[in-house]
Every structure is written in structure tokens, then in C-alpha cells.
Amino acid sequence: MGKLSKAAWLYIGAVIIAAALPIARGPFAEINWTAVITLGLLLAASESTATLLESRSLAWSANSVASLAAVVLTGPVGAALVACCTLLGIRRGPSPMQRLFNTGMYALSAYLAGQVFLLFGGQVGTPGTSSFPGIIGPYAAATVTHVAVNFALLQGVFWLAPTPRTTASRLDLGLLVTDVGYGALGVLIAALWEVLGPFTPVLVLIPLFVARWAVAQFAAQQRAYEATVSALCQAVETKDFYTRGHSERVSKGSVMIASEIGMHAERIAAIRFAGMLHDVGKLGVPTAVLQKTGRLTDDEYAAIQLHPMRGLDIVRDIGFLDEALAGIMHHHERIDGKGYPMGLAGDEIPEFARVLAVADAFDAMTSNRAYRGARPVSAAIAELRKCAGEQFDPAFVDAFVAAIDRDGWAEPQPVPGDNTEKALPADTDGQAGPLIIESL
């Protein structure tokens, strides 16, 4: 915290005030207090068991279900009151400021969802047998409103207070659909109120936990991908400690190029993996050849040239790599068609491979190798420019140079000669303090 801009503070204040106003105004006369209290407890319970999303800055809880049930049972003001129970959630992580913002965000979402429910002709109160199917339309509108307002308010914060690891794309569409899907549980609570009364939330707790588990799978999937890639990377570096950190840096360079040319977020994630794994085929090349300091014989050179194909052989069956596979296989192709393994030229070379080739060559030049020392960044850039059009795709060279000019390039640490000591790759990602936003 503390590093927030003025605009961000204003924004957070505005959200909290916008949520507080309607609650202060009431009316309170027609509020079903039993429902507010029971649902408030349900909401506090789900808030307390929120599950973290991919990065540490975002957490998901099933709060919208309780608020949406309150929309039907007691109307917009009651729903906003229920949403205020976010404050009661017991979980470590969010700072008081975050809690206040989250509470304001949920209360505002719930209030607006309630107004939309009324706008579409929804009847407030415990629904009876005659309420169906009439209530479904307004309820669906309220659900979509809740998710959309929640999403928009969060986006606002990301926009005003960007954090290094939280990009807007992190809130992917799948999560929004998940939210709308589980929103249906709200109307179920409202309907069951007629049969089960305040006991309803107890029965609904289990589906809420299921929902939580379901959302946790998003993060688990991401972890599985990361784990896969780092295990394979570690294998490469176990074999050839000279390249330690190389994969990581090529990956970073590829992401810089990809972002510079405006690649879609999903493809940027894929090219990150491709960069990490581009040399995985070196596992299939004899260590003696990889670490040789003298001139390579023809046979040894041929063995090295096999590595893109070997790499493909190794990771071919890993489903999620998908487009990254093409990058791994073709990252030694040249624009003029003189590369290997296929001798593709120009646009025949997959885009990923052309990006990787630039980042790979650049890191090779700027780091120590068995056969020569590192060159300075400026010399490497000059070399890239010289070879653009022959070896490299000029567009990607330009993009890379532009990105380096703006963001700089972390030169690798000297590789320690002892291969038991662990050298972590240079990492200068500005990990600015704790991230500020929680929730969705």
C-alpha cells in the first residue's frame, strides 16, 4: 500500500461513498431482517474461505450468491446490507483498506443488481409457487448486473493502480461465466426459503464449497503449467549448467517482443512457456558436445542441429503447450531459409519461432558461453540489426530494440563454475510491494 496514486485514492473513496449513500438513505421499513442476518452470516462464511486466484493479488469468494438471494428476498437496500458483511470475513491477507474497498464494491454491485431486478419487474419477497417462471428473467438480469459491476469496479482499480503481475487479462472470461453460473444458486436460496426457511443457507453451503473448489481449479491449472515448465527447465540446467538462466531470459525477451507487437494475452502466456522450453532438446545432445570449448566437428555440429527436433520429441505430448511446440521446433530457422531443421523461410516460419530466434540470439550474445565472453547490450543490438532480414524478422528486431530502450535489459550474472551451487537467474522484475486488490 502507500504507493497508490491520488487518482486511485479518489476512486476507492468514490466507490465506498457510492455504496454508503443508498444504504444510509434506506428505506428500511420493508427489510426482512431474518433474511439479512442469515444471508449476512452466509456471506461472511464464504468470504472467510475465499480462494486465491492465480496471482496473490486476487481472491474469489462466493459472495455474490448471498447478495443475489437477498436481492430477491429483501430488495436492493437489504442486499447492500448483506454485502456489508464482507467486513466480517475472517481471513488473513487483505488490509483494512482493501476490506473497505471490497465491501464497498460488493455493496454497490448488490444495490445496483437489486435496482435492475426491480426495473425488470421482479417482485421483492419470498417467492411462492406463482412467482415462477416470471422471476427468472429479472433475476438473470440482476445476476449479470452484479457480475458486470463487480468486474468493472475491479478493472478500474487495476487500471489506476497497476501491479506488475496483475494485468487486466487475468480476469478471464471463464471466471465471469463461472460467476454467472453460480449466481443461479441465489434464486435457489430464495425459492427454498419458502420450504426450509432460514435453514436454507446450511444446505446451500455445500454447493458454495463446490463452487469455491471449482474456482480454485483455475489457479491449480496455472500452477500445474508452471510446475511442468520449471521441472523441464531444471532438467536442462542440470545437464548443461552453462545455460543456467538462459531459458528464463529468452522467455522474458520473447514476452517483451510479444507484448510490444500487441500479441493477445493468451499467446503471450504461451510464448513465455515456449521461451522457457526452447532448448529442452539439448537434453538429447551429448553433454561433451554441449560443453566443448574448441571447434565442433561436422558430426558434433549435426548433433547440435538435432536439438529442436529432439525438443519436440520430448514435449510433444504435453497438451497445453500447443502453439509453443511450433516455436520450440523452429527457433533455429532463418528468414532467408538457411536455418534448421526444415529450412523454412520468411512467413513460413511460425511467428513464435521468429520471436524466439531474436530473443535467443540476443541472450546468447550478451551472456558468457563456453567458447567466448559476453558482449555488451549495445553491440548485441547492433548485431541483431545487421542480421535483420537475413537471420531475423526485422519487425521483431525493431520491437525488441524498442522494448529494451524503454524497459532496459537485465544482463545475466556470471555463471559460477561449480555446478553444485545454485545460481538463480537475474530477476529484476519490479516486484513493487504488496499488491493492493483482493476479490472478485
Partner: protein
Amino acid sequence: MAVRRYEQPGYSRNILDSGQALLVIVAGVLLIVAITDTAVADVTDVSAAIAFGALIAFGELLRLTLPGDREAAPIAAAGSLAYALLIRVQDMPARNSMQQVVAVAAVGMLIGALPHLAVGRPARLTSMAARLVAVACVAAVFRPLAGHQVISGHWWSALPVMLSLVVLAWLVEAAIAALVRTDVLRARFGVALADELRVQLPLGVAVGTSALLIAFAAEVMGLFAVAVFAAPLLVTQVALRRFAGIRATYLQTVRALARVTEIGGYVEAGHSARVSKLSVDIGRELGMPEADLLELEYAALMHDIGQLSLRDPIPGGATVLVSREEQRRIAEYGAEVIQQAKVLDSVADIVRRQSDPARMPNRADEPPLSSRIIRAANAFDDLVGSSVEPSRAAAAVERLRLDTAGEYDPAVVEALAALVARRP
């Protein structure tokens, strides 16, 4: 020269077929009786039958394979249980008979299975039969009670009955699945049942509560409860698929790492796969639960990954031939690679300890069972290789037996001997 007969190794297929066939026949008889009965007695509450049948068909269409090669159709299961537990649809008492529940569930499942058949995915009859039998049990108990004043009067009297029936469905399905698994995999029934109960618990809870909620909600919402509830069920289903995908990713990674040593020429092609298969067979013979078997499989596939740290491959990749120190170093490097995949920590530990002798002066220092199994399986494969010569296998077992005082675990070696003896 004598003619040698080649047979499928392992279990006898006849027994297997008869056990599963019995299950399918029971389900088939249920189905026929239910459908004829319903046809004779006329379908009651046609719209409810159609709504639930549609949900079941839809769920069957979306069935998925969960880790451990288990087929599940959670939406279909929730739908058919809900139909069995129905008390009222809005103000009308539900009058669907037990036969009708089974008939609707069966027809729904068949319709949902048709598209799978059309694209060439064979139906897994045992799995469908198990689900049908579970629903039939619940319906048989609850349908006669549904109209009774005690049940239909108050939710608090109905709830415990419904809850225990949901538990019953879970037990029945787990027991049937365990029986089938005992048959197919030669697992012990007790172990298999414990595995099934554990694995199916989370899904069973989710399916059971969904069924309860749909049944209760139908009292107010009528059949719209089915439509409204389909949304969260669908989202959960997507998450389940994601979950299965995650497990698949780990397996793919482990396989890729196992392939690395073969492509790099460190071990003979097929070695990792053989050691892994043999290890899992030994583990099952020793009654290990499924979760441990999975870790054992992963560890065995990757047990040689540490050899990547060697500048030159060991001739033939046979770690059994190098010094204890070298073995330990290889195991340590391997564990380091696996540790990068954070969730596989215990796998890394198994790989790390594989070079330790199985018997230690102090029992507490002994490596985990999985490590001891891999040690024996690896040594066996180094000695035998891809050869299928029975005499060579027997000789290898004898050699391992000689070392059971220190190097190898006698129980593991005996399990291995039993497996080898069962080979044709």
C-alpha cells in the same frame, strides 16, 4: 521343439468377464422390467419425466473421465437422484413410481450415450450399470415413502431420510466400482473399496446435495428448478474437466521427463516404462492404496532423471552397476528436478531415497516402501531388460533374493517373485 503358447499375462479374463457381465445383466433386467412396467401402467406426470429425462440425457452426454480412469456423469447422477427423491412439484404430489424413475434414468442415459457411440467412443457399460443400480436402490426405498404424511409433511422429517439415501447411493456405487476394480486390476477388495469411497466422496457430496436441493426447490419452483440448477452444475462440470486436465498435465510432464533420459541415450528405451509398470504391479500386490500407487508410478517413471547430471551415460544405463556414492548423487539430482514441480514433493522424496539400502540397522531410517519397490524393480529390469525369457527372470529374482539381507526388501522381492511366477 515344443510349441509355446502365448497368453495374456496377469489375470484370467473369464472371471473378469463374468463379474462385469453379471452387473450389466442385472442393470439390463432392471431396465427392461422398469420400462415394461411403466409402459403398462402409463407414465405419470409426463412433463416431470421429460424434464428430468432431458437433464439426465444432457448429463450423460457431458460425462467425463476423472483421474484413475473413472467415468463420471455428475449432472446425470444428480438429475436421476433428484427425480428419485421428488416429493412435490409445486402443489402437486409427485407420483412417479420406482419403475418409472428407473425407466426415465435408463432412457435418459441411453439417449445421452448415443452421440458418444456415434463418434466411436464405446459405452462403458459397467459404469452406466453401476449408476443405474444406485438410483434404483434409492428409488426403491423412497418412492413408496414419498406420499406418506411423515415424509411429505415437514422438511425436517424428510431431510434425514433423503440424506441417508444419498449416502446409500454413494456406498452402492463405490462398492460396485470397487468390485469391478478388484476384478480388473487384481487389487484387494478392501483396499479398492477404501479407495473408491475416498475418491468418490467429494463428488458424491456434491451430487447428493445437488439432488436434495433440486428435489426441495421443485416444491416451489416446479420444473424450473431443473433448468435453474443446470447452470451451477454445468459450471462445476467444466471445473471437473479442468481438474482432470491438470492431472493429465502432470502425467504428460512426468512422461516427458521419463522420455528425456531415453532420448539422451542415458537408459535403454522402454526401461522407465517397464520399471514403472512393474513397480505399480508390486505395489498393488502389496496392497498399496491408489494415491500411493500414483506417486509410485510417477517416481518410477522418473527414477533415472538424475542421470542427466552425468557427463557421460553409464553403459547400458544400468545404475545397479555403479557405486553407492554415484547412485546417491544421481538420486539427489533427480529429486532436485522433480522438486521444481512443487506438487510432486513426495515423489521427489521417493526418488531421492531409492538408492538407500532397504534394510537399515534402525527401522526409522529405512526408505519409504515406494523407494524400496523402485529399487528392486529397477535392479530387476537392469538384469533382465526387455527379455521375456522366463529363466532369465527367475535367475534375476534369485539374485535379488540373495541380497534381501540388506539391499532389497524381502516382502517386495517376494511380491516380485509372485508376479514373475504368474507370467506365462
